[in-house]
Symmetry: C2
Subunit: 331 residues, 2 copies
């Protein structure tokens, strides 16, 4: 006993399959009483259109791939940015009745699989969250004839519209806050330099330090708490006299705070700390973290709109969202 087909609905309503199809798809060129008859039949039979059959002829799938490329296990699970972005994009797509196909690509094998999948026409569009510079996916996907947008500026110059936040400007604002509060020796824990966010936030730091005649003191982390803790210990060895540190994301700032505590430095009295992202956890550190807020959910939603607009020939200019300094107790 299989599922009812449109044929069955048409038969029950006493109309042709074509008319039933028109009603199901909401066309208006159907007389009201016929329309009602069809809808009643749909209801009685519990009819639901077969998506495969529909896709076959319409050449649409009504689903969108959300590709998260090269997610380090820890980072993906721990950094709430991912889940926030995924959630927001998902809700935005739900609203227009598109489904989200989630693809996590970490190995060359899985990159190839993703590429084949997209090329195979399983989805109508792709949202790419790719942070890593060496990632082959942005260029690979941009060659396909599927609309692609990116969350964050792609690391390699490639013709993909994207939505990003103002990483440089945010970093500048954070470091300027430290300068303004009289800090002299301002270090930074930078993010990975093969990621745009890592690069840009370091650029912002350097710009302000240069303009205010201070020396850069740089350690590099990989956006995990652990790397933040390690980098902070190294900075304290390199320059025991530092009195502030700008950390490229909150997760690393959490690690840095722990290292400072273990080294006996008081925050903010001895060392001021500014983070980046304003994750929820930033309110619960000891002391609460001064950081730069950027609208992750809005960025993801904007990305969805960009993608949907693209399929309708809309504009494909990058969207850059602003960043806001949130002052708490750490600086």
């Amino acid at each position: 006993m299989r599922r009812p087909t449109l044929e069955a609905v048409a038969a029950r309503a006493g109309v042709s399959r074509a008319t039933a199809s028109r009603v199901v798809n909401g066309q208006t060129t159907v007389a009201p009483h016929i329309r009602d008859a069809v809808l009643r039949a749909v209801d009685e039979l519990g009819y639901l259109p077969n998506p495969a059959a529909r896709s076959l002829v319409t050449q649409r799938t009504d689903s969108i791939a959300l590709v998260v490329s090269e997610p380090g296990t820890r980072v993906f699970s721990e950094d709430p940015m991912f889940s926030t972005a995924i959630r927001s994009a998902s809700m935005e797509l739900d609203a227009v009745n598109k489904q989200v196909v989630l693809m996590l690509a970490s190995s060359p094998t899985s990159h190839a699989r993703v590429e084949r999948y997209i090329a195979g026409g399983h989805v109508d569009g792709v949202m790419l969250i790719s942070m890593h510079g060496a990632d082959p996916l942005p260029s690979a996907l941009s060659r396909l004839r599927v609309p692609v947008v990116s969350y964050g500026r792609p690391a390699v110059p490639v013709d993909i519209p994207y939505v990003d936040n103002d990483n440089v400007g945010g970093a500048e604002a954070g470091v300027r806050h430290l300068v303004a509060s009289g800090r002299r020796r301002i270090a930074t824990i930078a993010g990975p330099q093969d990621m745009i966010a890592g690069q840009d936030r370091l650029t912002g730091y350097r710009t302000v330090l240069r303009d205010s005649d201070r020396r850069s003191i740089v350690a590099v982390g990989d956006f995990t708490r652990e790397s933040g803790a390690v980098a902070m210990r190294q900075l304290l060895r390199d320059d025991p006299g530092l009195d502030a540190v700008f950390v490229a994301n909150d997760l690393m700032a959490v690690g840095a705070l722990q290292s400072l505590r273990q080294a006996g430095r008081r925050v903010p009295d001895d060392v001021a700390v500014v983070g980046f992202d304003d994750i929820e956890a930033a309110k619960y550190t000891e002391p609460p973290l001064t950081t730069l807020r950027h609208p992750v959910a809005e960025q993801a939603a904007a990305m969805v709109r960009l993608l949907l607009g693209l399929s309708e020939g809309g504009p494909s200019a990058p969207v850059i969202l602003p960043t806001e300094l949130v002052v708490r107790e750490s600086a």
Copy 2:
């Protein structure tokens, strides 16, 4: 200029469409030289099977829905359990070439949408992450003729195989640890009582307290940091003399630690704290958190295997995974 079809491949290789199909689908009843000719044609044309056409006849979609039901915005984004589970399930499904369709259902509207989607035959199976007791989805989905498995025991008794961790046993171990270290007045911050994890962890707490002749002191949170902070303040008001608190998850424990700090209590000297989950952040609290670890990734992977087994008539007995006490400095 559309994509090459199997017809084109067959023509190029000089065989029938049926033979080309056999080769593409890896059947062995094809002579080697013909097989090679077809594969060469596939390669030259860049042929990829049309998934809609294939699904239409095979009645399979090779994709699995991952339904996260009723995720409070904050909890979903902040609790790393979700991303860990999603990641693990996704990787496990990738390995068998199944795609993950992610559906977040939070409102009655979206519940209906999910149900229609599943009933519509878009997917071959469903993995349900539903924590809320009043959630209509478990029973709704179990009525469909699609295999369904659940991450965590469903709150309402319903015939869905599931994988869960030993919440009761874990809570007992945590509280026993507090008893063994000589704590007298042991409170708890319980999780929401319409969630199984909330109920079971409270049950474990109560059992041990009863067995050791202590009085229960209970506040209830909703698994967010904020609610943990609020609950802790309330407990301190209710019983200023408490010397330990068992918190039903780490996120709430983070909030509780903050409230204890603000109230001037030292941890663990004045008040010992035990959490639950062992999220990464537990290592970075001040002081680091003693907690109960359970294997989220393994639980998700086991859920995938359960689902895949189900479609092949495998067993559908619930799987319960063990929990382990991780002693750090907070208790």
